[in-house]
């Protein structure tokens, strides 16, 4: 209780980070090595109170998502893995389910796409803004993309530039109390 009070006093809210992945070999899929780099970057975050939910959404081949599940176990108790099969609603459908599985103590919910590496100070820089009760959502400026494949990179970049909906921001955090459902 005291630790939690100190975290809140310092502006360190508990945050649940949801990583969406769609493994496979299609141009818009994320190869396991890209997801692995993303998860290792999240494991290296310099922040005291966070969990990572890795959500594999409808990846057809088990051999594609099993290594990621194994990696989540290796990375420790902060990491949880979910494989959702036959799930409707594309990314937002899976995100809506992931929201039900976030830690009850998480005041913030963050979304990180599986092909974005965050810096170790990502949360330390982002979360304190939520000490202002008027702040409910904060997107993060993108400075680099993991995926080196020019075709895949173009797909990812276009998706984010054309996005009008903040939920689609590749790296963002949202106050969980103000969060409804992803459209």
């Amino acid at each position: 209780m005291l630790t939690r009070a100190l975290y809140l006093a310092a502006g360190w809210f508990t945050i649940s980070l949801v990583v969406m992945m769609l493994g496979g070999t299609r141009p818009y899929d994320e190869p396991p090595e890209v997801v692995e780099a993303t998860l290792r970057a999240l494991a290296a975050l310099d922040y005291p109170a966070y969990e990572v939910l890795v959500v594999d959404n409808n990846t057809p081949e088990e051999k594609t998502w099993r290594p990621i599940e194994k990696l989540c176990r290796e990375l420790g108790p902060r990491f949880r893995f979910m494989h959702l099969a036959n799930w409707p609603g594309f990314k937002s459908g899976a995100l809506n389910f992931a929201l039900t599985q976030t830690s009850p103590s998480a005041e913030l919910v963050g979304v990180v796409d599986a092909d974005y590496q965050v810096s170790p100070l990502f949360l330390r820089e982002m979360v304190p803004a939520f000490t202002d009760p008027q702040v409910a959502f904060r997107p993060r400026r993108i400075t680099g993309i993991t995926n080196r494949d020019p075709i895949r990179r173009r797909c990812i970049t276009r998706t984010n530039i054309s996005s009008r909906c903040p939920w689609r921001s590749a790296t963002s955090a949202t106050r969980s109390s103000s969060l409804g459902r992803w459209a």
Partner: protein, 137 residues
């Protein structure tokens, strides 16, 4: 090999860190999913957070302890604040002792409130006297 043992223990201790689910259906309130063993599960959509502990009933002496905090602050302006507020805290504790049937623990707390209030008053009286003496011509 050295890495394998803790990993296996980790797997045993926290089997639920991996969820493998298949969508079966949903309504406004919940998802219907099936696990790897084919068992059907219902997962509520509402992320209402259950309270880990029930609300504590209000304690009779909580206001007295809050009042005791005020005399501490009241010591700063030459003890004059404590001179007024410490007896208030003691009186509140007395009122609780008279009007309520307190538990043994609460009766001990009454004694604690009186003791701290007396101590604060003991500090406040000389401080106030010195302050007033300093003010008088």
């Amino acid at each position: 090999m050295a890495h394998a043992l803790p990993q296996n223990i980790n797997d045993l201790l926290e089997p639920d860190r991996t969820l493998i689910l298949r969508y079966e259906g949903e309504d406004d309130q919940s998802y219907s999913v099936s696990g790897t063993d084919g068992a059907r599960l219902t997962v509520p959509k509402n992320r209402n957070v259950p309270k880990p502990f029930l609300d504590q009933p209000p304690q009779p002496l909580t206001p007295a302890f809050r009042l005791l905090a005020a005399p501490f602050v009241g010591l700063a302006p030459a003890g004059l604040g404590a001179l007024v507020l410490a007896p208030l805290a003691a009186l509140w504790a007395l009122a609780m002792l008279i009007t309520r049937s307190l538990t043994r623990d609460d009766r001990i707390r009454v004694m604690v409130v009186w003791g701290i209030a007396a101590g604060l008053l003991g500090l406040a009286i000389p401080m106030s006297a010195l302050f007033l003496a300093r003010l008088s011509p």
